[in-house]
């Protein structure tokens, strides 16, 4: 006895897997006898084919940007974890051991690890003596070449960012504002008014935040880019909002401002998963 829902459930997985259901003998008779199921099959197949046709067109530059921002965040989290553990702020040694269980001290191996820790100390002392000795040798007048500075990496955050909580809060607010702008329709007058007001408020505070972040040049650079966005946003004219907002959104996207705002907000959170 043909049951439409049961039959459709059975063939759905095969349709998604791009299998030719109509060519399978066990389904042919039911497809022939039930026009409604046959229609379901044809329409579902068209849908999956259309979905298969989606091709994400992104340039290598865009992919590189995404990858860099991801790596920056991973390195930032790693640095934050290490910094916090080493400073003993929020994680004790046991917490560190829990995070990196393979580093946990094993009492049975204590003697071995003590020996292992003495050897590098001796080696370091020997190297120090050699260095002092070499330092006393007369230096050659010529032939010394300055080692070229390594090229600056295009990584946004390489270590724990020393930002004060107010600046971090400011970055969070900025991120929210930018997200709202990205979602904003130029025709939405209320949203636009809110965004303009928020932009004015942020501009008023921006100089102070730049000063506070002076020791972190990438953050200052990002804030300068953000400042131009804020100014343009504050000055958006209702008459030309369509064009202005489009331009602002494009610049936010091109500069990766939202992701950067997020990258500079240090966050440490415990996560737990029901892993098997």
């Amino acid at each position: 006895m043909h049951n439409c829902e049961e039959f459709r459930e059975r063939i759905t997985e095969l349709i998604i897997d791009r299998e030719e259901v109509a060519r399978k003998a066990e389904f042919q008779s039911e497809l022939l006898t039930c026009s409604s199921c046959s229609e379901f099959y044809v329409q579902s197949r068209e849908l999956i084919e259309a979905l298969d046709g989606i091709d994400l067109t992104m340039s290598d530059k865009q992919w590189n940007g995404i990858e860099q921002r991801l790596h920056a965040r991973i390195l930032n989290v790693g640095a934050n974890l290490d910094a916090n553990v080493d400073a003993g702020f929020s994680r004790s040694r046991s917490a560190r051991a829990a995070f990196w269980p393979l580093r946990r001290l094993n009492p049975a191996a204590t003697a071995t690890s003590m020996m292992q820790s003495i050897v590098p100390l001796l080696a370091t002392a020997a190297l120090l003596l050699i260095t002092i000795g070499l330092g006393r040798l007369p230096s050659p007048i010529v032939g010394l070449q300055q080692t070229a500075a390594p090229p600056a990496q295009a990584v946004y955050v390489e270590q724990s960012v020393p930002l004060d909580p107010v600046t971090v809060g400011f970055l969070e607010e900025s991120e929210l504002l930018l997200r709202n702008v990205m979602k904003m329709a130029p025709s939405d007058v209320e949203d636009l008014a809110d965004a303009k007001k928020a932009a004015s408020e942020q501009l008023a505070e921006l100089d102070q935040r730049k000063e506070a972040a002076a020791e972190v040049p990438p953050v200052v650079g990002m804030m300068e880019t953000y400042e131009t966005i804020l100014r343009d946003l504050r000055n958006v004219d209702i008459g030309s909002a369509d064009e202005d907002i489009g331009d602002i959104q494009k610049r936010i996207q091109q500069n990766g401002l939202i992701a950067n705002m997020k990258a500079f907000q240090p966050r440490i959170s415990e996560v737990s998963f029901s892993l098997r």
Partner: protein
């Protein structure tokens, strides 16, 4: 560049010892497919990047829990499900009205159909189809959408999806049927002019 299972195991081991660079290399192997999935799930680039980053960071924080009982990719899929479904929007006054709407044109991802010129009529036609599909997908409840994308995009079996999402195979099959049925009822290929 793809890495061998042995290389992957080596990178996992190094990452478990706190080597962030090793984890970055692991992340590089998976971030593109994860990003595309997140893009289809969220409908816009910014949320997709956030989602992808959250998954990777959660994986990095939990890497010591990876025992190698499954592949790294399978393990990552579980974290992805948790991250996607547990994602909470920050307090955002515009969120209730804006975020639930299907993707807006301004923040629409750049999708084009394969084998077509960008500016051709077909491209426009296919662009409409893509937009329609992504809007339809956005209307599907999150958990169901995720199950569907894991099947369609990642090619996971119903058993794997059930295992990853902590549900039964029957539920996964029923869900897939419901999603496809819902999508196909609202899906219509626009006519090409001329």
């Amino acid at each position: 560049m793809a890495i061998s299972p042995a290389e992957e195991a080596e990178l996992v081991s190094r990452a478990q010892h706190g080597d962030a660079d090793a984890f970055c290399r692991l992340a590089t192997q998976h971030h593109r497919s994860l990003y595309v999935l997140a893009l289809k799930y969220s409908g816009n680039h910014h949320d997709a990047e956030d989602l992808m980053q959250d998954v990777m960071l959660n994986a990095y924080r939990a890497i010591h829990q990876f025992k190698g009982m499954s592949s790294f990719r399978t393990w990552l899929a579980r974290i992805m499900v948790n991250s996607f479904l547990n994602q909470r929007r920050k307090s955002d006054p515009l969120a209730p009205t804006k975020r639930q709407e299907p993707m807006e044109e301004e923040s629409e991802p750049m999708f084009y159909s394969k084998n077509s010129e960008r500016h051709s009529e077909w491209s426009v036609h296919n662009g409409l189809v893509m937009k329609q599909i992504l809007n339809l997908l956005a209307s599907v409840p999150e958990r169901q959408r995720l199950m569907f994308l894991m099947k369609h995009q990642e090619g996971m079996t119903c058993e794997e999806i059930a295992d990853t999402m902590g549900t039964s195979v029957g539920t996964v099959k029923k869900t897939l049927f419901r999603v496809v049925d819902r999508l196909r009822q609202h899906f219509a290929i626009p006519a090409v002019k001329g």
